[in-house]
């Protein structure tokens, strides 16, 4: 009678004790979705040198602090702004802005600033005629200094009140990017 037990026991105990004490090395995930780098390039519409602001955080959430480069704009000038989003932690580098463009109706950038007289407006649209924000127009007024904050929302409610005018309050959705650049207007 105990022979039956023994067979069962051997099978189960075998499964238990043939494992080693230590955990195998994990496979490291690629992290393709990560956004490491945001570059906002502002080109003066009347010609001149580009102003390039950037945020770079190669190791993602946690770890080392990101590197943020602000910019200096000229007063009373109009700039054409373009956003570039990259995942530089991946080899080769992934263009995240391309993914965002492909899902344009599910994404919207919002631009906020505490500099008086500085306005940022949308110069592009998604496939449904709502703003997206990869391309924008920056118009400066008098001199000042402060910040420009760029927010990317995933799945915002673009038809909520004020959202298509760039007001974030009723947008909802998740924040994928929220970064502030120091800006001087001279």
């Amino acid at each position: 009678m105990f022979k039956n037990y023994r067979t069962v026991l051997l099978v189960v105990l075998g499964a238990v004790f043939f494992t080693s004490c230590d955990k195998d090395d994990p496979e490291i995930p690629n992290g393709e979705e990560l956004i490491t780098t945001v570059t906002y390039t502002m080109t003066p519409s009347g010609g001149g040198t580009d102003v390039v602001m950037s945020f770079r955080d190669l190791d993602g959430d946690g770890g080392d602090e990101p590197v943020i480069v602000g910019g200096t704009l000229a007063a009373n000038t109009t700039y054409n702004g373009t956003l570039e989003l990259l995942n530089e932690a991946n080899d080769p580098t992934i263009d995240i802005a391309e993914e965002v463009s492909e899902e344009d109706i599910d994404h919207q950038f919002f631009f906020q600033t505490d500099i008086t007289d500085l306005t940022v407006s949308y110069s592009d649209q998604d496939s449904q005629g709502n703003p997206l924000g990869i391309s924008s127009t920056v118009v400066t007024g008098g001199t000042g200094s402060g910040q420009i904050t760029i927010i990317l929302r995933h799945e915002p409610n673009k038809s909520a009140a004020g959202v298509s005018d760039g007001m974030i309050d009723n947008a909802g959705g998740e924040t994928d990017i929220e970064i502030s650049f120091p800006v001087d207007v001279n």
Binding site: M1, Y5, V8, L9, V12, L13, A15, V16, T19, C21, D22, K23, D24, D25, P26, E27, I28, P29, N30, G31, E32, E33, I35, T36, V38, F55, D57, L58, D59, G60, D61, G62, G63, E65, P66, A89, I96, E99, V100, E102, E103, R153, H154, E155, N157, D169, G172, G173, E174, T175, D176, I177, E178, I179
Partner: protein, 778 residues
Amino acid sequence: MLIRFYKFILGFVFIGVTVSSIAQDCNMSILGTVIDESSNLPLTYVNVFIQETGTGVVTDDKGNFAFANVCKGEYHIIFSHIGCETQRYHFDIEQDTFLNIVLSHSETSLNTVVIQGVKNELSNQSNISLDRKDIEDNNNQSISSLLQNETGVHLIKNGNGISKPVVHGLFGNRLTILNNGIIQSGQQWGNDHSPEIDPFAADKITIIKGASALAYGGGNLGSVILVQPKKISKEPHLHGQINYSFETNGRGNNLNTRLEKYTPQLAFRLNGTLRKYGDSKTPNYYLRNTGLAEANLSLQLEKSWNAKTFVDFYSSTFNTQLGVLRGSHIGNLPDLEDAIGREIPFFTEPDYNDSIDAPRQEVSHHLTKLRLKHFIKDNQSVELVLAGQLNDRKEYDVRRGDRSDTPSLSLRQYTFNSDLKYAHDFASDWSLIIGNQNIITDNTNNPDTDILPLIPDYRSIRTGVFSTLSMSFSSAQLSLGWRYDYEYQSVAAITRSQPPEIIRYQNDFNNFSMLSSIKIDISEHQSLSMSNGISMRNPAINELYSNGLHQGVSGIEEGNVDLQTEKALKQTVEYKWLPSPTFSFNALGYIQRFKDYIYLQPEEEVRLTIRGAFPVFSYRQTDARIYGLDLSSQFTLKNSIIGLVKYSYLRGYDVGNDTPLIYMPPPSLFGSVTFRADRSIGLTSNVKLEEVEVEINNRYVLQQNHILPQQDFLAPPGAYNLVGLKLSTNVFLPEYKFRFFIKADNLLNISYRDYLNRQRYFADDVGLSLTAGVNLKF
């Protein structure tokens, strides 16, 4: 729902069949008496019903019952009594038969938790249990929410579908849940990990609110929840039941079936459950993406090899998909602040929707267990349990591209248990148990998530030995015991450096626990129990090595490699007073002191990420204290009105930082009145109603005032009061027995939020819900 404190659990401990000589085909009689085991007094008003003939009688004041003119044949006789679980037995009637039936009564069944046949160290500790009827009448609820009206028990939730029990303020890896005697794996962390157990497969759920439970490893710090099926009854026919209920809120359908059959070679029981819910609704709006879908199956096999050797096998699979409120998914802290301030959550839709989209969880839990029990002598037994579990958890977030179909978290956790126990009952009603337990846990993250895991891959090996001695004296029972556990952890974490590297940790922990408990019978109707337990819990993997963004806390969570083992000392005092069968009172006071209590501390530091600044939470240790009081009382008037009052009070205090502990349940008060027809009601000569009941219940939960504003994003919600109503009856037909119930939860459709529900930051709790159910036994 009728959840009683002092249940009159009628356990048939002895059935004697005496046979007299004369036998004629349809002229036989079945006579009998029903007596109470503890008092030896006759039990009156026991309903005795022969299913095949549709005839029923009630025991008289001497506990006697009689059926005349019974034909020769096989019968199922059903015994039911006020507040009891209905019992059914099979008899082969060939001649005049006399049945001596001895029932165990409330007092003894409350005081004696007999697990697997042997009195053990839990006997003197406070316990409450739910029986099969509670489970069947609440088949629209998860295992956690079944327990929520018990004293000292609360629920920590993430929405309506995801909940886990909290006993005396402890949950997760401080509370052990045993499914079929096996420590439920996958419960180590996460407030949003519901125990993956189908309550319908169980017949009894017991909550031990004790100072220590030495026979179980798993680092419990006192309390244990036991989920147990009962033995398959010796019924030679195929029997079973079908249970169906529909709930209006969420438009949920719940279907359960059970089949069982006994043969001398092998007995089996099969349970199956299907559940499907869509969006539930607050009084004012639908909670988008709060549906669930569940499919479970379990098989129980039992075999007696001979009179001394028993084998049972249990295998179950639990599979669930749980939606998480869409409006509670946030990207960063300003999102959370935005969401908190809203009247109605983002993404609320005007209509009912039953799709389950991201964010959602998909969890499968499989368990296989084999138990061998051998009686060396009548009073000595050896038991070996071998079990394996696989917990496969996937959590899906709203992600860019088509990644929403790729889980953000994907964990596979294998657990192997072996459990060897030797029990020796001595003549003087003393019993000794010695045991050894081994648990191997292997946790692997699936790299396909494309996200660095919050909790690293690891393997842990835990081995423990324990011994308990239970002693009975004339008016006292004493238990003493100790336990030692060794745990080895092997961790392989991925660093967040560029490029990522693998970093290894190896830990050894030694844990020691001790228990002493005593129950003194002050008089025939009063008892006093005291227990003292020391237990240790080594830091868990998430407490040591978490690293990354944890959506559940809206912050960066950082483990602490320097954590020490947590030590707890718990003392309980329980007073029971049962002056008559119609009144009972129970008071349980407890205090648990912690040294090196591990908790998540919000740091002053904020960490800048591409999604903005996040607060940093890190695991720290402090000294803490949790104390509380559980009160309950039940009375029965004129055999037809049952009143019940329960009160739970609890305080948690961080002694080291001189602040309250967060996530401690606020005080709550539960009351119910049940009106019950004390006789059966005949509708026609063949159809009659039994156990017709109307229950009104009320749950009042106070505001949690014991918390500082800076400890949370949002102040605790206000007090709330929920009213419930339930109508239920058994319907006896000649061949079948049905049970019907209709119940209303949140009858007044009030808007409220619960402090321990994470969804409270975003939305109200569910409003009025009506549930109608039918149960057919065959």
